[in-house]
Point group: C2
Chain length 197, copies 2
Amino acid sequence: MTDAPGRGPYAKSAARRSEIITTATAVFGTHGYRGGSLRQIAKQLDLGLTTVMHHFPTKVSLLAAVLSQEDAADTDFLDRSARDGFIPTVLAIVERNIGRRELVRMFTVVQAEATHADHEAHAWLQERYASVIPDYRDAIEHDRSLGRLATTRDATMLADLVIGTWEGIQVRWLADGTDPVDGMRVALEALLEPIRR
Amino acid sequence: MTDAPGRGPYAKSAARRSEIITTATAVFGTHGYRGGSLRQIAKQLDLGLTTVMHHFPTKVSLLAAVLSQEDAADTDFLDRSARDGFIPTVLAIVERNIGRRELVRMFTVVQAEATHADHEAHAWLQERYASVIPDYRDAIEHDRSLGRLATTRDATMLADLVIGTWEGIQVRWLADGTDPVDGMRVALEALLEPIRR
């Protein structure tokens, strides 16, 4: 983001905020949330710690901003799935994620830490499952009612498995670049049995 | 492990070593490898840092010991799979993992961090994929040749997907206790199409 002259202090503040979030994404993705620090983030940006703390007074407030980037991207999932079908919609997100590797890595590392009940992002992780799984279940049931999918398996179980498989495949891609779209397509077809027309 | 009297200094040293590995597993599973420290591990055990460093002079030498616990458990995979079938053998390990939650958590957290090419465990992660995937591929092909599996999908792709799915399902189980055996059974049946006899 370029900081055009004349955009005023608000625009400048928003640009600074966004740059802190980007750096925090990389730091949490490398050291984990627990291993990362505001000091480290300030240092990488060549900023004073007080400047960072002006925008994010605590590390946990910065974590919330970092994690909400991920969620904002997929708000229209159900509409897209109703239009294009569940499998193409998921594959489009897997493909888009290839271009946001450090965001996916941060998400993977923080999620692993956050499985601990006393982790700062544990409630976020629980809420995420509680919102994504019913959406995926509904999208799968909708596709089935339209005759797009032949599977007779329980839709909540399928939603669980799609999420689990996706996350596991992304770890592998982060580690050695194995194509996640190919793997995800094969897994989705095996689980959901699309009907070709 | 109890430290029976008369077992001598070697047994005592082995017990101490094993207790350090167990504590390091919990610390790395909570803070990640990068966020954990020998000092923290020593403190939790109420030991001096020099005692810990007598057994593990560097944090990375302790990481190697922690990670090798995981590998040691599955050395007879191919024999078991040839005897009992691939699906039952994988499900037995998923089930056994339920009793080693902190080991699985450590493995999940360190693996996520280790996707970074400059992480201390990155080479370990690459070697793990390089040894597990061909074993799983061979086990799947063997089952197919015996008429146990109907799938015609590429066996290397299937091996990749079994590992990815398994790891994703375990994250969910770590986070909220969702039964990993049930999910894994459904995923394996969808991917591998077992032939019932």
